[in-house]
């Protein structure tokens, strides 16, 4: 019970810490852009002229303010952004690309949790792809190992698991966004293969006043389950992100089982009939640089 409360507290901590900072960063950058346009001398008034009816003279028809960033080449291919002193927003005259980056995530929470979860070591790596910054298909691979032992038992278990699913982002989906934070929910399906064995187990039956030392053969089982995920991921610096996820694991089912059931299922947690498991993941993320995406964002002035 205390473990579940602590997981909820960690999610609460991240929500309090991360989400307001994400929104504050967005607003500060928008305000800074407005102030820069309004107050600095970097805006240039460029005369726009068109030819007169007979084509002999150039007639000044309008002036537009151009926000200069670095060296501006005033050629025919330049995208000219009309600046609005009142709002300071820049309109991007092109669609968002479908592909917006590949993210590699490494979970830090579960390896650290080995210190307080009875020695169960679990590590997972995942990769997700940003599509329109809305949809994030994700795959995850992981490994679990546990070897509790004392005078009364020696239990060894290990296994691998894989998950696949998709996330849907609700936050920060504008084309003009300055940062790539996400707040998403999604569904994943998990599959696991686990090997386990108990040796030197001290077992007793009080009614018959019997004590025995028992051992079992090595057994292998396969399990599947469904996960419901909520994730908050924040861009910390360029292509580096940090995120926190809450995971609800349910609908556990077996593909191959053994008479003696495994106590822990890799990726799912403690095994029991009809159990719902709650998990938490704290990830560091690296977005693989994409030249196409970088060019799009530079041309868009982001």
């Amino acid at each position: 019970m205390s473990r579940y409360i602590s997981n909820i507290l960690l999610i609460l901590f991240s929500a309090v810490a991360v989400i307001p900072e994400a929104y504050a960063a967005e607003n500060q950058e928008d305000n800074a852009a407005v102030n820069t346009v309004a107050n600095t001398a970097e805006t240039k008034a460029i005369p726009v002229a068109s030819k007169s009816g007979d084509g002999s003279d150039l007639i000044l028809t309008d002036t537009i303010k151009v926000e200069s960033v670095g060296t501006v080449n005033l050629d025919s291919t330049m995208v000219i952004n009309h600046t609005d002193d009142a709002h300071g927003d820049a309109a991007i005259d092109r669609k968002q690309p479908v592909y917006q980056g590949t993210y590699i995530n490494l979970d830090l929470y579960n390896p650290l949790a080995t210190l307080w979860n009875g020695g169960r070591f679990e590590v997972m790596v995942s990769a997700d792809v940003s599509l329109w910054h809305r949809l994030f298909p994700v795959v995850e691979l992981g490994f679990m190992s546990m070897h509790p032992t004392n005078d009364a038992f020696d239990y060894k278990t290990y296994g691998v698991f894989a998950k696949a699913g998709a996330l849907y982002n609700f936050l920060n989906t504008k084309k003009e966004r300055k940062r790539d934070h996400i707040l998403a929910v999604g569904v994943r399906y998990g599959y696991s293969n686990v090997t386990y064995q108990t040796t030197n187990a001290s077992v007793s039956v009080d009614y018959f006043k019997e004590n025995a030392i028992m051992s079992s053969d090595k057994m292998v089982a396969n399990y599947g389950w469904v996960e419901f995920v909520a994730i908050c991921r924040v861009q910390v610096y360029k292509d580096f992100f940090m995120g926190i996820s809450g995971v609800l694991k349910a609908f556990q089912h077996t593909y191959k089982t053994c008479p003696v059931y495994p106590t822990y299922i890799p990726g799912f947690g403690k095994n029991s009939d009809g159990v719902l498991n709650f998990g938490i993941e704290y990830t560091v993320t690296y977005r693989i640089p994409s030249k196409k995406l970088r060019v799009f964002r530079e041309e868009s002035g982001l």
């Binding site: 949790a113 038992f153 009614y207």
Partner: protein
């Protein structure tokens, strides 16, 4: 300042709660569940004044109780466990209920958790009822896996 204080409180609380060692809340015994069923209506029935005792054991497990379900421990040093049942007659005209239940099984250790340790797991191969009166009409091995779950039915005895 308030936000930093809130962060510190939440993180400290999370660390303290996660460092608390859990107690053993799982059942620590694997017991064979035997249910008594009426063979005509297929409904559970009570045996009155029921006494249950393992063969070769002095202590009585159930003494003159009225129940429709009993939980029986099995041997871990032997592959056979026998129990003697005796109960009052269902009606004044009928005989009292007396029979012996023979359970043939194998056992293995089941690891529950670091806090709970191990319990025995049983695989029941077969069950035989040797009635001493005519009231028992049949026996069914309903579930052959005996794990540390409470109130699970493994054997049904029909009357």
């Amino acid at each position: 300042m308030i936000k930093r204080t809130l962060y510190c409180i939440i993180v400290i609380a999370a660390v303290v709660l996660t460092s608390c060692r859990e107690n053993c809340y799982s059942p620590s015994k694997s017991l064979l569940g035997v249910a008594f069923v009426d063979s005509l209506s297929n409904q559970a029935i009570n045996l009155n004044s029921l006494t249950v005792k393992a063969v070769g054991c002095d202590s009585v497990l159930y003494k003159k109780v009225t129940d429709k379900f009993v939980s029986l421990p099995l041997h871990i040093t032997s592959n056979e466990t026998d129990y003697k049942f005796a109960a009052a007659a269902f009606t004044e005209e009928s005989d009292s209920v007396k029979f012996t239940l023979k359970v043939y099984h194998t056992s293995a250790p089941q690891f529950v958790s670091p806090e709970c340790g191990c319990v025995p797991y049983y695989k029941v191969d077969s069950v035989i009822v040797e009635p001493e009166t005519r009231r028992v009409t049949g026996v069914e091995l309903y579930d052959d896996n005996v794990v540390n779950a409470e109130n699970s039915v493994h054997v049904k005895i029909y009357f």
